[in-house]
Structure formats: C-alpha cells, structure tokens
C-alpha cells in the first residue's frame, strides 16, 4: 500500500535546543497511527513542522507523493493536512455550526458579490455547507449544540468540535494533538469510537499524539515513540509498548 506521509531526516532547533532531530516517519494510507513520547520530546513540534507552522531546518515531508516541505500552513491544508491543537483553538465567538462551516471555506465557494446579494449560488452553497456540517457534527454528537457559541461548550465537547472543524477541510491526513486530554475514561472511550468511525467512514489517515495509553493501545495500529526529538522506537503498537526502552523512557512501571 502506498504511503500517505513520508518524512525523512526532519529536524528543527530553537536556539540551542535541537527539538526534533533526524525524524523519520512513514504512514500508510488509511492508517491510524500514534505518536507518543515523554513531555517535551518534540511531538507537538513535529505536528507544527508537518503543518508548516515551523519551517524545518533539515529534512523533507512528502504527502501522498507531493513534496510539502517548507510550504505555508495554508498551502499544506489545501494539500490535505488538517489538525487539532494541544491547547484548544476554536473560533470562540462563532457558533458551533459556523466553526465547522469555516472548515468548508476552500471547498465550497461563491463570490463576495454573491455573498452580499444572496444570489442563488449563495443559497445553494450555504445549504450544502449546512447539511454537510450537520453531518459531521452528528458524528461527534454535537448536532444538538449547533447553535451554541463555541466558547460555551464544555471542555470535552470543545475538543470534539476541533476535530469536526478539521474534518470539514476534507483532509487526507488528520493530525490530532492529545484529543483525549481532560476527558474522563467514559468520554475517552466514546472518542475512540468516533475516531475509528471517522477513519472508516471518511477514509482518512489519522496521526495522533496521546498520553492516554488506553486510547493508544485501543485504536492505534502503529506507533512511533519520540524521545529528545529523536525516534526511540517505531512499529506495531503492541511491540512498541513492550519495548523495554519505551517502558523506561515513557511508560514507567
């Protein structure tokens, strides 16, 4: 099977700190892949490199055969990468529905003129967006809250809304940064089901960062463990989690 993502020799420094070094990652199309590692290992930084928030000092990133190294966040999103953030970043003053509709921005277009004069194309496209947005919200059980301001959602729901918004950009690759943080075990379980559903139903490749081992071992097929910016272990989930190095560096016990 072809690789959705191929990362080679990726690296970046902040001042004297080599936050990510010689990072390698290959993810197959349709995979559900986990990125784990101690705090400060560089996981979020990898996401930032993949999405163009930071420009790498070295290495290359190929998405579905296209080189996206050094491109801007916007271009990378257009190329098919969407993400969520470790510290939630919603459009707080917009409704839940509008948060998702914002995600459709580049796939559902009409002119500014149409927008101001409410032409038929405006009506058609808006209706289409509404329908699709509600469909995604339903997956995350957020459809009942569609009219709330995003700021007024409880924490856990906010995390789900971020995923919904990312999905609205119809990405090939979805990056989730600690999606279960702040959720209790029951909520985490529900989230796991949603992620799996999304992957299957929308045919996405998912790469996620998570510290909740139940989630990681429950749904990730493969893992990469990052430590001090370098790959510590890589492979099938069960194997990696039993790797003694991983246990000492990350899991404990």
């Amino acid at each position: 099977m072809a690789n959705m993502l191929e990362v080679k020799h990726l690296g970046i420094s902040f001042g004297g700190l080599r936050a990510v070094n010689e990072f390698e990652l290959n993810i197959k199309k349709g995979a559900l892949y986990g990125l784990i590692g101690p705090n400060g290992a560089g996981k979020t930084t990898v996401f930032n490199l993949l999405t163009g928030v930071y420009k790498p000092d070295s290495g290359s990133i190929m998405l579905d055969g296209d080189d996206i190294t050094g491109k801007s966040t916007i271009e990378i999103n257009k190329a098919g990468v969407a993400r969520t953030f470790q510290n939630i970043r919603l459009f707080k003053q917009l409704s839940v529905l509008d948060n998702v509709k914002a995600g459709f921005h580049n796939s559902h277009k009409y002119s500014m003129f149409a927008g101001i004069f409410h032409t038929p194309s405006y009506r058609r496209v808006e209706a289409e967006m509404d329908e699709k947005a509600m469909e995604i919200l339903k997956v995350f059980d957020l459809d009942k809250d569609a009219s709330y301001l995003a700021a007024n959602l409880p924490y856990g729901e906010q995390r789900k809304l971020e995923i919904a918004r990312a999905m609205a950009t119809e990405p090939k690759l979805l990056l989730l940064d600690e999606p279960a943080a702040g959720m209790n075990p029951n909520e985490t379980q529900a989230l796991m089901d949603m992620i799996q559903f999304v992957r299957e139903h929308f045919g996405m490749t998912v790469l996620l960062i998570e510290h909740d081992m139940r989630l990681v071992s429950g749904i990730c097929e493969e893992l990469t463990v990052l430590n001090f910016g370098r790959v510590l272990a890589q492979g099938r989930t069960a194997d990696v989690l039993n790797d003694p190095q991983v246990i000492t560096a990350y899991l404990g016990e």
Partner: protein, 356 residues
C-alpha cells in the same frame, strides 16, 4: 436538524431586519415631524451628520468588531472620501449640472478613493498585529491629514494646477478657481446631501456589512479574528480576509465622508484628525464591539448628546465627559452587567448561551 439551522438563520435575519426597520422607522418619524413643522432647526441640521457618523461607525465596526483589529486612523479614510468627492463635485459643478448624477458619481468616487487608499495602506499594515497595527493606523490617519493639508489645487482655462507651497504658486489666470486650498480645504461644496440620501446610504451600508458578515467571507474574517493560527490551519488566507475587511470598511468610511462633505460648505482636513478617529471608536465600543445596532445607537446618541447638553453652557463638555465615562462603566463593567442582568434580565440577555 434543519429546523434548528432554519431557526438560527431566522434569528439572524430578524436581527438584521430589525436594524433596517429601526432606520426606516426613524426616517418616517422625522418625515412626519418635518411635515407637521415639529422638527427643530437643530435636529434638522443634525440629520445628515448623524447619517454619516452611523456609516462611519458601522464601517469601523467591520474592522474593530468583526475583523478584530484596532484601527485608530479611520477618520483618514473618511477624509479621503470627503475630499475626493468634494473635489469632484466642485470641479464638475458646471460640467455636470444634473445633481443626482453628479452627487451619485461623487459618492462612488469618494468610496473608491478611500477604498484604494485602504488597500494601499492595508497591504503593508496588516502584517502587523494588535497594538502595533493600531499605532500604524493612527500614523496613517495623521499622514493623510498632513498630506491633504499641503496641497493647493486650482483649475483655470489651462487645466489643473497643483502646488505644494501656497495658493500663489498655482499661478492661476484670471477667473481661475482654487478648489483645494491647503489647510483651508475645500469650501463651497454644493450642499447636495439630503436626509433621504443619507438614510439610503445608511441602509446600503447596513446591507453590505450585515450580508458580508453572514457570508462565507464574513465567516472567514471572524474566524481569523478569533484564532489566527487555527484559521490558517484550515486554509484561510489571513492577509486576504483582513485586507478585505479593511478595504470594504475604508470604502464605506469614504461614503460617510462624501455624505459629510456635501452637507457642509467648509471642509478642512484637520476635522478628520485623531479625535474623530477616536470618536468613531467610541461609537463602536460604547455600542458593543461587533454589534451593528449598538454602533448605530451609539453614533446617534453621542452626536446628539453634546447638542442636547447645550443648556448647561460652560459645563457642557465636562458633563459630556462624565456621561461618557458613566455610560462606559454601565455598559462594560462586569459588576454593572451582572446587576443589569439580574434586574433587567429579560431585556438584556448578555450571557445567552446561543450565538447570533
């Protein structure tokens, strides 16, 4: 589910319609007062300035409330609109005697000129953020004022003469006409503005701004306001949408300027100074940032207030200042809001869970 979306949309629509209705109702009331002779000269004289301040406030709200950038130089755009349109009208006084056409063109020219300056300024400026952006808009406002002040433009049989020194350097021949007279600006602009035109322009402004907000572009603008990084992550072009908001806003401020200029016979650049920019900002903030209706009401109240306080003679501006401070405290202090919500909860639902 579609029921819920329909409900949301209806709410937005109703909200917008109420704004149009308020404007139209106010127009009707004024017309009745006029025809029954109950309209004082003062009120009559205030009508057109109030319309242009409403347009100014609503347009600034697009930048401050909707796009989330602080602009301290909005009067500059109004100034460009005012001078461009007044210049046009005054020089075309004989060439286009048909007033509706000339005035219509003047408004379009005012809007276009301000819009163009908006783009020119917006491109470099919008790379900055927050307070740095604010200070640069302030700087541009001052520059526009300063630059307009040094131009002398006259027309005679030989065409247009321009000088940056003084009136004499134009060397106009006999019968030539100084149109822009440096710091003394343009005087004798035809008084073409009427209340009807003012109200129509207000309605058009509302139409453009409200519909823009509720469109795909508006959503993008507000998304960028709420979280720039997240907006980029879903592929929104931050510069483009910031520029869009800025330009539309500048053009509308230009319309406000054109309306203003065609109501007063004496137009000087120093009118459009930092204080006016701040006044526009006061309208927006007092009215509730992002609230179009609030901007309208605040523009009306704050333009009328100093006139209504004339009976206080010497204490007028002092009381005005106090009223302004008190209104701000009542409208913004969390304590006051809480009390208001408790006792008048039904009427002012500020913390309603639902969005617009």
């Amino acid at each position: 589910m579609t029921v819920m979306i329909e409900k949301m949309k209806k709410k937005t629509r109703t909200n917008n319609l109420i704004n149009y209705a308020i404007v139209i109702a106010a127009f009707a009331v004024i017309q009745v007062m006029k025809s029954t002779g109950n309209l004082s000269s003062l009120l009559n004289g205030l009508l057109i300035p109030v319309c242009s301040y409403i347009i100014l406030a609503v347009s600034l709200n697009l930048v401050v409330g909707i796009s989330g950038e602080l602009s301290l130089g909005h009067a500059g755009f109004m100034s460009v609109g005012a001078f461009a349109s007044a210049f046009f009208s005054k020089s075309m006084l004989d060439a286009i005697p048909f007033v509706p056409l000339r005035f219509g063109l003047a408004i379009v020219i005012g809007a276009a000129a301000a819009g163009v300056i908006g783009v020119l300024i917006g491109i470099p400026v919008l790379r900055l953020r927050g307070d740095y952006l604010a200070i640069v808009t302030l700087a541009f406002g001052e520059i526009i004022k300063n630059v307009i002040t040094i131009f002398y433009i006259g027309i005679d049989g030989n065409g247009i003469h321009v000088s940056m020194k003084d009136k004499m350097s134009l060397h106009l021949e006999e019968g030539g006409n100084v149109i822009l007279n440096g710091p003394q600006g343009i005087s004798g602009t035809p008084k073409n503005a009427t209340f009807l035109v003012g109200v129509l322009l207000v309605l058009i402004t509302l139409f453009i701004v409200q519909n823009l907000i509720n469109s795909r572009d508006g959503r993008a603008i507000m998304s960028i306001r709420d979280n720039r990084i997240a907006a980029e992550s879903i592929g929104l072009n931050v510069t483009k949408y910031k520029l869009m908001a800025f330009t539309v806003s500048a053009a509308l401020a230009g319309v406000a300027g054109a309306l203003y200029a065609h109501n007063l016979s004496s137009l000087v650049a120093s009118k459009f100074d930092f204080n006016l920019s701040i006044l526009a900002l006061v309208f927006v903030v007092l009215g509730g940032i992002g609230s179009i209706r609030g901007s309208i009401i605040a523009a009306v109240v704050l333009t009328a207030l100093p006139e209504m306080l004339r009976f206080l003679s010497d204490y007028r501006m002092l009381i005005y200042a106090i009223v302004l401070i008190v209104m701000m405290l009542l409208n913004w202090s969390p304590k006051a809001l809480e009390l208001r919500e408790r006792y008048l909860g039904r009427f002012f639902k500020k913390t309603a869970k639902e969005g617009k």
